[in-house]
Amino acid sequence: MKCPIETPENAQLLLAYCTRKLNAESTAIIERHMEICPACRQFSSGQRAVWEALDAWEAAPVTVDFDRRLYQRIDREVSWWHLLMRPLRPMLVRQGLPIAAAACLLVVAGVMLQHPASAPPAAQPHSAQVETPQPDQVDHALDAMHMLGEFSYRVRGGAADSKM
């Protein structure tokens, strides 16, 4: 077996061995290797010392009024929010839509007042490209007007004949 300290992957294995997270098979392999490798023995004893030192560090128990203080904070937060929303609630429930519409109008009006010149830039390129009618288009239009005039004259003439 290659010395665990020489490769990072095997060093992880040795760390797992020291924290007793290795399976029996791997543990046996590591232990056999440590019999002939002083570097790994030193690593292992150092890591065990760290582990035991950390074991000795017990945290103090949580104070007895921890929950009470937490629930107080939760209540305070909830009641503060309720207090803030109480006068608005009936309006929001009954007149939610008109209020929302009014708010939207206000926002739109505000935006328009703040940016009055925001619309023209979009229209500018459009006005620059004014279409000029082609001669054949003018001819078509004149023909159509002529036909319409003739039709109108005949209709009126037809009406006069029927009256007579």
Binding site: L15, G46, A49, L54, A59, A60, F66
Partner: protein, 201 residues
């Protein structure tokens, strides 16, 4: 034995842990489930934060903030990860912020003058001699200083690995980094600790 439920999350079926199930009940307005979560995770969270910031008052204050955030987020809670991953992510975030801001240092000075953090256990449990108590205190101080000397993320990784017995993958999710980054963090952290504490063997 906690009951486990299955839920469909984004097409993949994932088993929910019991805590996530409780949190879903909290989301639906069940206050008692929040009490159960608090009962179960209060000590681990406070102890983790205590070892992170090394000040009991600050740790409890931060732990209160952790649970308050959990409660506030109940309506938007989605069980996309283990509940403890989410919980310790909040705790780690707050602890690292507190360390960065140096909030606990000012309080530490005041508290150190007032009282030692853990006098009761050593005196009442086994009634050690004054000498034993002093030796214990010296060793404990050494351990605390060694851990305090670690960079924030290394410290959090070691504490979650050692005391919460979390797998590399879960630590990675808490710290939002890769599993190999966690292995590297832990290896460097233990290397530093070995250099400082190996003589205790």
């Amino acid at each position: 034995m906690p009951e486990r439920v299955k839920t469909d999350m984004g097409g993949a079926t994932a088993a929910l842990d019991y805590d996530a199930e409780l949190m879903l009940r909290v989301r639906d307005g069940d206050g008692a489930s929040f009490g159960l979560l608090l009962e179960k995770h209060r000590s681990p969270v406070v102890h983790f934060l205590y070892r992170m910031v090394q000040n009991h008052a600050v740790a409890e204050e931060l732990a209160q903030e952790v649970f308050l955030r959990v409660y506030r987020s109940r309506s938007s809670y989605e069980p996309t990860a283990k509940f403890t991953t989410w919980l310790f992510r909040i705790a780690t975030h707050l602890a690292l912020n507190s360390l960065r801001d140096g909030k606990n240092e000012r309080l530490q000075e005041r508290l150190d003058k007032d009282s030692p953090e853990m006098p009761a256990r050593q005196v009442t449990d086994r009634r050690p001699s004054v000498e034993q108590t002093m030796v214990y205190q010296v060793r404990l101080d050494e351990v605390r200083q060694a851990v305090a000397a670690l960079p924030g993320k290394q410290r959090a990784a070691v504490l979650m690995h050692k005391y919460e017995e979390m797998e590399y993958s879960q630590i990675a999710r808490v710290l939002r980094c890769s599993e190999s980054a966690v292995k590297s963090l832990l290896f460097r952290a233990y290397e530093t600790l070995r250099a400082r504490l190996a003589h205790m063997a």
